[in-house]
């Protein structure tokens, strides 16, 4: 089971949020900028038209016989746009003396330098924009300054501005949408190398501890390099523990071999019955300890390999033939007939070393416990989706006590007194079988004898 991963935040979500906030701010800014520029441009164009209109009136002012004649040109008002939309006012004054137009429309006085001044004001309850132009005029005694003020209501202007507003709102909003889309794409592509790395690491087999070599973005380099160095260390310590298992076996077994060989030689020379008995017991004790050491190491090895299972296709019948061949001398020693029964062609996925170890343990047990001149039959059968390896003997079988679980560590049947064993054999077998998704069953045959069945899923 993979340990639980604590999740806090998401880089992608964070990235998207930040980009969206940025996009929203920019969109609002864009909206205001566009609106203010539009307002300014509209104002300027209105001012220009008002000024042009006032200029046209001024240009038409003529002095005839010392009198000012002003013929209001039609164009002066038509250029102000659709008259039905807007109301246009004007006032003409000479030296502040009202001549024509709307008397209450007062000109805006600037500091006097520029001949044109513009302004906004309330006039008859409406906001208007006015432009005032002055021109000196020579009338003899009445010489002075002719002042023309043209004003226009701002309804049309306001409508135009509202249109601009809407447009800039739309521009801002589409800008926001576009940026959001880009943010999502950017976030996805920014996190893609991470997903790719995660996928490539989780796709690996449990024993695959090679460093990650695919190129990664610079930001991920520290992560990948510490991952690589972690795997390096793991590989090293795995190799060390494997080495340790082998080394321990060597250290324990070689001195035991010396003692056992010496004891056997001694037994051949000793004549006195009580001395013979002592040496015999010594040999038994040595056998017991070497078998236990072997099985403890097997147990460690099996645990180690089962944790790092790398399944390969195994030809079970071929494996059985090899094992039976190699165990034959052992069975012959006890005059036990070890035979291969039915071998139905079948393949399973697993670790060959573990499967071999398990099957060897089961056959070994059968040879050991089946008694004088017994028979052991090994067969491989296909049962639907499963492959069964069956080891049968004609010995005393398993003890009847249903309470006793022989698969537990160091558990031994009650009817095996006098036979050397560690009680780890079936535990190891069970461990191997379960690591391969199979089951171990042991039972007694009706006609007598034990029957051990290992079932594996076939492949």
């Amino acid at each position: 089971m993979a340990p639980q991963v604590h999740i806090k935040g998401s880089i992608r979500r964070h990235l998207i949020t930040m980009l969206l906030i940025g996009a929203a701010l920019l969109a609002v800014l864009l909206y205001f900028v566009v609106q203010s520029v539009a307002r300014q441009i509209a104002q300027e164009s209105q001012d220009n038209i008002l000024a042009a209109s006032a200029t046209a009136i001024l240009d038409n002012a003529a002095v005839i016989d010392g009198e000012i004649m002003i013929d209001l040109p039609y164009s002066a008002f038509s250029m102000l746009g659709d008259v039905s939309d807007e109301r246009v006012y004007y006032a003409i004054r000479l030296n502040d003396e009202f001549l024509s137009g709307y008397e209450d429309l007062t000109p805006i006085r600037s500091n006097g330098r520029s001949p044109r001044t513009f302004g906004s004001m309330d006039f008859r309850g409406e906001e208007i924009r006015t432009a005032s132009l002055q021109r000196p005029i020579f009338l003899g005694a009445k010489s002075g300054t002719l002042d023309v003020t043209v004003a226009q209501t701002m309804d049309g202007q306001r409508k135009k501005l509202a249109r601009f507003s809407l447009m800039s709102l739309m521009i801002g909003f589409s800008f926001f949408l576009l940026t959001a889309l880009l943010a999502a794409v950017a976030a996805r592509s920014a996190t893609r190398p991470m997903h790719r790395l995660a996928a490539s690491v989780s796709r690996r087999g449990p024993g695959d501890l090679r460093p990650v070599e695919a190129p990664v973005p610079a930001e991920m380099a520290p992560l990948v390099s510490s991952l690589n160095s972690f795997m390096q260390r793991l590989k090293h310590s795995l190799a060390e523990s494997e080495e340790f298992i082998a080394e321990a076996a060597h250290r324990v077994r070689t001195p035991l071999a010396v003692v056992r060989t010496r004891a056997e030689t001694t037994l051949r020379r000793v004549e006195k019955p009580e001395n013979r008995q002592t040496v015999r017991e010594m040999i038994r004790a040595i056998d017991e300890s070497s078998r236990s050491a072997g099985q403890l190491l097997d147990h460690a090895m099996v645990t180690f390999r089962a944790d790092h299972l790398e399944p390969k296709d195994i030809d079970l019948p071929a494996l059985v033939i090899d094992l039976v061949e190699s165990l034959k001398p052992l069975s012959e020693l006890r005059d036990v007939e070890l035979k291969v029964g039915a071998l139905e062609p079948s393949q399973i996925a697993g670790d060959g070393i573990l499967i071999q170890n398990a099957v060897r343990n089961v056959i070994d047990n059968a040879i050991k416990y089946c008694g004088q001149e017994g028979r052991v039959d090994v067969s491989v059968l296909r049962q639907g989706e499963h492959v069964q390896l069956v080891v049968e003997d004609n010995g005393p079988g398993f003890p009847d006590d249903p309470e006793q679980n022989l698969l537990k560590r160091y558990a031994r049947g009650e009817n095996v007194a006098g036979i050397v064993g560690s009680g780890l054999g079936l535990t190891i077998v069970d461990q191997v079988v379960r690591a391969h998704g199979g089951t171990l069953d042991y039972s007694n045959k009706t006609g007598g004898g034990a029957c051990v069945t290992l079932s594996f899923p076939s492949c």
Binding site: T254, A257, R262, R334, I353
Partner: protein, 220 residues
């Protein structure tokens, strides 16, 4: 038989040599791969016993060389490792068999016998005593024109008698050599096997006789 034992542990080597000598075998001991190569170059062996971890290299290197030289002498690997991959590895490299230390000499002999049988035997695996011929490898007894196939324990028991005709063996000694030490058998079990051998020998002039209070011996 003539063995070459390649084992760097001096004590274990000496113990094995001593034990094999008891059965009348000749054993040369090499403590390194270099030693072993010298021995192989100067003498012919019936069987080579090879340890894996040696001071000047891996026993598997020797094995590969040995096979490359097309030397037909069978090799049994002695390994202290329990890991099966090791065993599989040496068989792939051309070892005839392997045995895990510490080993039971009965099992060891059984493996030697099986290996030599597969290889077609060695000179002198036939022993003639009086009117009977005994093939120690095949386990056959040739008496009066008949071949009798002995079972393993009968074979080993008969081998003990045949190798030392006239010598008296006590039941207790025979039990030790016939049964593995983890089996609880009474000395009377020997009587069964002696009985069977006697039945096989009815047509021969040789016989296994009981020496009251002492044991059995083969009379030719």
């Amino acid at each position: 038989m003539r063995f070459l034992l390649i084992e760097d542990n001096v004590e274990l080597g000496r113990a094995i040599v001593e034990r094999l000598s008891l059965d009348g075998h000749v054993v040369d001991q090499a403590e390194s791969l270099a030693d072993a190569r010298d021995h192989c170059a100067t003498a012919d062996y019936d069987l080579i016993l090879l340890d894996i971890m040696l001071p000047d290299g891996d026993g598997r290197t020797f094995l590969a060389e040995h096979r490359a030289r097309e030397n037909a002498t069978p090799v049994i690997v002695l390994t202290a490792r329990s890991e099966v991959s090791d065993r599989v590895g040496v068989l792939d490299l051309g070892a005839d068999d392997y045995i895990v230390k510490p080993f039971d000499f009965a099992e060891f002999e059984a493996r030697c016998r099986a290996v030599l049988r597969r290889r077609g035997g060695v000179a002198g695996n036939r022993v003639t005593r009086g009117d009977l011929t005994f093939d120690t490898l095949a386990g056959t007894l040739h008496v009066g024109g008949d071949d009798i196939q002995l079972r393993n324990r009968e074979l080993r028991l008969f081998e003990i008698f045949v190798n030392s005709p006239g010598q008296i063996f006590s039941k207790s000694k025979l039990v030790d050599r016939l049964f593995s030490y983890d089996e609880d058998v009474s000395e009377n079990a020997i009587e069964v096997y002696v009985g069977r051998l006697r039945k096989h020998l009815t047509r021969s002039s040789a016989n296994i006789v009981t020496v009251r209070g002492l044991g059995y011996k083969l009379e030719v």
